[in-house]
């Protein structure tokens, strides 16, 4: 540091903008309150309204548990509990075991075509859960080309439900288990090998214990998804009723809101239970991973590699078959009697459900949720993680951000009717608008986005905000110039997650759309209800293709952004 580096005539002091400190602290408090208000209004109040409704009669008088007693005295309703549990358990066992094998193939073998398989395996997420149900009817229905596989059993009922659920839940399980199996510690395997441990014993004593938390967590996530699913049992359940379809039947079919609320409360229980177990496990898992673990690398073993490869290819083949069937169904003139190709089912001309308008509405919803949701959720996570003060508020916000995961879509949708459609509610004007659909969808899928945000934010230097403050830069500037750009990959993941879910979800919004805001996913349901099976398939395919295009755009955008960011990410 030489003297010459010291400027001689630098102005005495740089102009200093009057730092508006009080407004900044106030703004911070206000946005925090806004975040809390969003979830209080969008989650807690509706759920509370639903609980209240379940202990009222039709005229709104308190009647204690009379509705519940009536519920348990109605065999047609009570049967659904056992039905729901049995299909959810069957789906859980089949999905998790299959996903475990595939995840093992991806992470622990040298099977060829891993990348392609992983890409194909996520396709079901891009489709509404109604799509596999429709395809299964074409595959295994009375006219299905594979109906003999069922040996005389009907696809309408538990078999179809379990198959349909397995299809769309599979990617979720695969992602969770792949992550769990990736976190291996090579040192343990080397030690086992040095001790001459047989392979099966290594698997039982090292591999399984290593993934046990991931596995248990996966079991509960899959079970929750299965027991709360509405789309598959709605389309293919036949006379086999489950809790989610009971809510719909009570509310939409019979407008018996009280009983709908009762079924919702019952549906809420397994979901909440599995949520609590999952949280408990997640907490324990954090402590288990050692920072010094060395990732394990598989070595080639042709027999094992090809066994797993064939299994994975078979799974990928089934996925393509199911999606292909829906596409095929949407292009056939009059199945099964006139197999000429046509695009007429894509016109949706003169059919219910809203046609292309519904698709456009869905697109609007998906874009709005992706844009607003991403910013709101990420910003709220930032407030929780990165700001000082208002501890109770921040903790409360975090707790509420975790809750939506435990609330099934049907329950949330119904809760919205109860809360927003009260005549005296000042937010009543929201009812029947696109805004309520955006709010509902945003809240419905809040938790996963929140967790993704928190994980991304935890990876940032904890002092960015303090540096910004010391330089008198308002917090929103640091947020937009540093935090957001640095977290961009996670932010994009969140936005595409929200987009795809807003496109495909049907459970919550089925109660909330009106004539102006019909959605494509709900249209699939209505087209199917009305007997326009080909058009229902066409609409489902349309949703799938839309999600696929957005997902591909997202992949390309992420690629470009990461390439650009490569300069600073790995400049060293």
């Amino acid at each position: 540091m030489t003297d010459s580096s010291l400027p001689k005539a630098f102005p005495k002091s740089l102009p200093r903008r009057g730092v508006n400190v009080a407004p900044e602290a106030l703004i911070r408090l206000l946005v925090l309150l806004a975040g809390v208000a969003l979830l209080v209004v969008g989650l807690l109040f509706p759920l509370f309204a639903m609980l209240v409704k379940s202990v009222q009669d039709r005229s709104g008088d308190f009647i204690g548990l009379a509705n519940f007693i009536r519920y348990f005295q109605t065999p047609a309703l009570v049967n659904s509990i056992a039905n729901s549990l049995s299909v959810a358990l069957m789906a859980t066992v089949s999905v998790v075991s299959l996903a475990f094998l595939c995840a093992y193939g991806i992470t622990r073998t040298c099977m060829p075509g891993k990348r392609l398989f992983r890409m194909l395996a996520i396709l079901p997420i891009l489709a509404p859960s109604l799509l596999p149900a429709i395809s299964l009817v074409y595959l295994f229905g009375n006219q299905g080309f594979l109906r003999d596989v069922l040996a005389g059993h009907s696809i309408y009922g538990p078999i179809g439900i379990v198959m349909g659920m397995s299809f769309w839940i599979f990617p979720h399980a695969l992602m969770l288990l792949t992550t769990a199996l990736t976190n291996s510690d090579a040192r343990l395997y080397e030690a086992a090998e040095a001790l001459g441990t047989p392979k099966w014993r290594t698997f039982l004593t090292i591999t399984l214990p290593g993934v046990r938390y991931g596995l248990i967590s996966c079991l509960f996530v899959v079970f929750t998804l299965a027991i709360t699913d509405f789309g598959v049992p709605k389309i293919i359940g036949g006379q086999f009723s489950v809790l989610a379809t009971d809510v719909y039947r009570q509310v939409v079919g019979q407008q018996n809101f009280q009983m709908g609320a009762v079924v919702s409360v019952i549906l809420l229980l397994p979901a909440v239970l599995s949520f609590i177990v999952d949280r408990w496990i997640q907490r324990r898992q954090v402590a288990q991973l050692s920072a010094r673990a060395v990732p394990w690398q598989p070595t080639p073993s042709p027999l094992r590699d090809w066994t797993f490869a064939l299994l994975c290819y078979a799974v990928a083949g089934i996925i393509l078959l199911v999606i292909g069937t829906a596409v095929y169904a949407s292009l056939i003139q009059f199945w099964p009697y006139n197999l000429s190709f046509t695009l007429q089912h894509y016109t949706f001309q003169g059919l219910g459900g809203g046609g292309w308008g519904a698709w456009f509405n869905s697109l609007k919803l998906a874009f709005s949720v992706a844009l607003i949701g991403t910013l709101v959720i990420f910003f709220n996570a930032w407030l929780i993680e990165k700001s000082e003060g208002y501890r109770p508020l921040r903790q409360g916000l975090h707790f509420m951000a975790m809750l939506p995961m435990a609330v099934p879509g049907m329950v949330l949708g119904l809760a919205y009717i109860f809360f927003f459609n009260q005549a005296g509610n000042p937010l009543n004007w929201l009812y029947g608008t696109m805004a309520i659909l955006v709010l509902n969808t945003l809240v419905h899928f809040y938790t996963v986005c929140h967790l993704t945000s928190v994980t991304a934010l935890k990876q940032l230097d904890p002092e960015f905000e303090a540096v910004g403050a010391s330089l008198k830069v308002p917090f929103w500037t640091t947020f937009s110039r540093v935090t957001l750009p640095v977290s961009l990959p996670a932010v994009l993941d969140i936005s595409v997650y929200l987009f795809v879910n807003a496109m495909t979800t049907v459970s919550a919004v089925v109660f909330l759309y009106n004539s102006d805001t019909r959605l494509a996913s709900v249209a699939v349901l209505h087209l199917d209800e009305a007997g326009y099976f080909a058009s229902a398939a066409a609409m489902a395919v349309l949703i799938f293709l839309t999600s696929l295009v957005v997902k591909l755009l997202h992949a390309a955008l992420t690629h470009v952004l990461l390439n650009n960011a490569q300069r600073w990410r790995q400049a060293g």
Partner: protein
């Protein structure tokens, strides 16, 4: 605030404030996290232009005190005054300081230029002036030409200097350094230590540095604040801290120190291993126990055995000197003595040897029995 600002880059112009004006007055600051008291009734005055180090073991509260000064943590009670303004309740944005963190917290997605200009861009300064300012700051930290690089492309020491330039860019009245050198390897650390000190001296900016490294504190600070368990143990110049530690803790924390259990014989004498030793006047109760602290380099060894003596049980070769461990004769206590290499030949130093020990009164300090050491 603007009128009282010294322009930190014009060190050769007369300083507006004199060295004795207090820059920061901390009064009775207490900070509790639940039932844990991180800062216990801290009072401290920091003068204008001073370089102060908060020194102490981890968990002593030094970082909490720094964050309280910055406003990043809010004290439970007590007040803070900066240049006569009560800043106790102001948020960080409203306080006048720049800060460099242990992790540097450089914005990874911004270039060196944009990092340094970060605080300037917010102030409606025109582009040309920002450019000039950043160029000057980078020159100041010897990083001219690195404007367009990203932090990840810089070495640890370079990143540290960028962080320093960024903190200085807005001409803060107070520079806060939170363990700024601890992430660097020893060689870079030594180099940067003198650079920062020289820069601080040149700019005259009041600086507070948090460190757990006593060597760093001793070499850089005008004054050192030694902290332990949320209280200030001693405030003093490096020499005071080293030579006149106010407590057994300070004595033990800074440098190497012998602690010997002694009995107080009179106001100027203690008894050790049945030998009466003279010490500086004290006011410990006569007849009680006490601890005598003396640094190894102050211990004089002689071949004449008379009075206090000990047997050599270990010799450690440390280059310029040898550290000798002695078992005191007549007491189950050991004593370390540093013997310059030249003297060791004179002494004919070897294991098992019995040597006379002289503890100079002016170099020995007496602490109450049972007082905490590190």
């Amino acid at each position: 605030m603007q009128t009282t600002m010294t322009s930190l880059l014009t060190a050769d112009s007369p300083t507006v404030m004199t060295q004795t004006t207090p820059h920061l007055c901390i009064e009775a600051v207490t900070k509790c996290f639940g039932s844990f008291t991180a800062l216990d009734n801290i009072s401290l005055t920091i003068k204008e232009g001073e370089f102060v180090c908060f020194l102490g073991p981890s968990g002593c509260g030094k970082t909490t005190l720094l964050r309280t000064i910055a406003g990043l943590a809010r004290q439970t009670s007590g007040t803070l005054n900066q240049r006569g303004n009560d800043i106790s309740t102001l948020p960080p944005q409203a306080r006048d300081f720049g800060i460099v963190f242990q992790s540097y917290a450089l914005f990874p997605n911004l270039t060196v230029f944009n990092n340094v200009a970060y605080g300037l861009r917010n102030r409606r300064v025109d582009r040309a002036r920002i450019n000039a300012r950043v160029a000057e700051l980078l020159a100041l930290v010897n990083l001219s030409g690195s404007e367009q690089k990203y932090p990840a492309a810089l070495s640890g020491g370079q990143q540290q200097r960028v962080a320093l330039a960024r903190a200085l860019a807005t001409e803060p009245g107070l520079l806060l350094l939170d363990e700024p050198l601890s992430a660097l390897d020893a060689r870079v650390r030594g180099h940067l230590r003198s650079q920062i000190k020289a820069l601080q001296a040149r700019l005259g900016v009041t600086t507070i540095m948090v460190t757990h490294d006593q060597e760093e504190a001793l070499t850089m600070a005008d004054r050192i604040v030694v902290m332990n368990h949320g209280v200030i143990e001693q405030v003093g110049t490096p020499a005071e801290i080293y030579h006149q530690p106010a407590s057994a803790f300070v004595a033990s924390f800074i440098g190497t120190m012998n602690f010997l259990d002694v009995a107080v014989h009179s106001a100027e004498q203690v008894t050790l291993a049945a030998v009466r030793l003279t010490c500086l006047p004290h006011c410990l109760p006569v007849g009680g126990a006490a601890r005598l602290a003396v640094r190894p380099e102050a211990v004089a060894l002689t071949r004449q055995v008379g009075g206090l003596a000990g047997e050599v049980t270990d010799i450690e070769f440390l280059g310029a000197f040898q550290r000798v461990t002695l078992q005191l004769a007549g007491a189950n206590q050991t004593l370390l003595a540093d013997v310059p290499s030249r003297d060791s030949t004179t002494l004919g130093l070897h294991m098992g040897q019995t040597l006379g020990i002289h503890l100079p009164a002016e170099a020995a300090r007496l602490y109450p029995a049972g007082s905490n050491t590190l």
